[in-house]
């Protein structure tokens, strides 16, 4: 980011390790720091955006998100020749009563059928596939989005959400953009990590969690985003925690801390608050304070 705004993205690989709870806690702790860190927040998990459940945003602006396009067949002109279905690689064209119909969920928007139809009976239509929002939250402006279920283009929507966050951060001179990332390692994660100064990987020490942590670390390394790891629910599998710590040491990846399994986190979630607000003395909250100190030190060391 320009003008000194740093960008931190929170990732995990495996779903459910606690990214959103950690992001919300870091937002709270950053805003309470001495001096307070000015924030802009972005929820890049557009499939299942949960950050808003913990930071009570007030929506100021919302816009349609136009994703890709889908093919539509004019049935009056369709002669049922089937050339469209023959060229479609996405199984999106099906015979129906002598003509052909497009399945909008399967259609990839490539328009190959449009170019091959001898009757010129097919056209591409842009779709509204979700909405994005600009909100005010207790810790700063929040950009978030909701993709309609079964839609494509989550990567594009993530990019849009982050771009808006980035522009606002620049305009208002905010110090830190905090991005709650999606699970996995594919397109939405790549979009979320793109341009970040630092990635915080929230790992859980289960066998599955360790496996997926490695994959997401390979991903951030590939795209040149420096990373650090915090271990959540660290006492659930001590062997796993040791494995993570050893891996990080071998690969020169700093450890941001260990957060114990703590029922206070869920209690706070049910109340709609970060755990550091609802149960500030709980083991998880204390650990999160240490994580924030480590993360904020690391952020200061990344070049602007």
């Amino acid at each position: 980011m320009n003008n000194g705004t740093k960008q931190l993205v929170v990732l995990s690989g495996k779903g459910g390790t606690g990214k959103t709870c950690v992001t919300a806690a870091l937002a709270h702790l950053a805003s309470k720091d001495n001096p307070p860190v000015s924030l802009v927040l972005a929820d890049a998990d557009v499939d299942a955006a949960n950050l808003e459940l913990l930071i009570k945003p007030r929506i100021l602006e919302s816009q349609d998100f136009r994703g890709g396009q889908v093919a539509v067949i004019d049935e009056d002109n369709c002669q049922g020749c089937g050339v469209c279905a023959a060229v479609c690689r996405f199984e999106a064209l099906h015979a129906n009563n002598g003509t052909y119909r497009v399945d909008p969920i399967a259609c990839d928007g490539c328009a190959a059928c449009v170019t091959q139809c001898p009757e010129d009976a097919i056209s591409m239509h842009e779709q509204i596939v979700g909405r994005w929002f600009r909100s005010e939250s207790r810790y700063g402006p929040l950009f978030h989005a909701a993709l309609r279920p079964a839609q494509d283009n989550s990567g594009k929507l993530v990019t849009l959400v982050k771009q808006h966050a980035r522009l606002l951060a620049m305009d208002e001179g905010r110090q830190l953009a905090l991005v709650d990332g999606p699970p996995g390692i594919g397109c939405p994660v790549i979009s979320a990590a793109s341009g970040a100064d630092l990635a915080l990987i929230v790992a859980e020490p289960s066998r599955a969690g360790v496996h997926d942590m490695r994959r997401v670390l390979s991903t951030t390394a590939h795209f040149g985003v420096p990373s650090l790891v915090c271990i959540n629910k660290a006492d659930i599998n001590p062997e796993g925690t040791i494995e993570i710590e050893t891996y990080c040491m071998q690969h020169g990846i700093p450890l941001a801390g260990r957060i114990p399994f703590d029922t206070g986190v869920i209690e706070a979630m049910v109340q709609g608050e970060p755990v550091t607000v609802y149960r500030p003395e709980s083991p998880a909250s204390r650990a999160l304070h240490a994580v924030w100190v480590r993360v904020s030190d690391e952020l200061q060391e990344t070049p602007a």
Partner: protein, 129 residues
């Protein structure tokens, strides 16, 4: 020669837009006559491939140089192939940035050193089956 500058608004007094692939407009300026015209960036609402689309657009308009804040690996590759020189600026008004270009104050863009595996070293190379 024709120079393209990424801009927020469609006129020469517009604030500079730092994004290449997704800037709102390009201001095309003739460096000899100082005549200018603005065009909306067709890649603004693109899905993937905004960088390549924007590169193709300014090449099709005959630009020989472009000023933006940063160029992604795909845009970089496309602009290089088209022989379009890339310069960087941070912020300001398009008119002033044009002035800085003319007086040779702007730096040419160079890709970041070894930032990741194969994003910058030529095209993303997968293995063949």
């Amino acid at each position: 020669m024709k120079l393209a500058i990424s801009a927020v608004e469609p006129h020469i007094n517009s604030p500079f837009d730092a994004r290449f692939g997704r800037c709102a407009f390009f201001i095309f300026v003739d460096t000899e006559t100082h005549a200018w015209e603005a065009s909306p960036n067709p890649a603004l609402t693109s899905g993937g491939g905004a960088g390549t689309q924007a590169a193709q657009f300014i090449a099709s308009q005959g630009a020989q140089a472009v000023i933006s804040s940063s160029f992604g690996p795909n845009a970089y590759e496309a602009l290089q192939a088209a022989g379009i020189k890339m310069y960087t600026a941070l912020a300001g008004l398009v008119e002033n940035i044009f002035g800085e270009f003319v007086s040779g104050e702007l730096e040419e863009f160079s890709p970041p050193p070894d930032s990741g595996n194969n994003t910058w070293q030529g095209r993303h190379k997968r293995s063949r089956i």
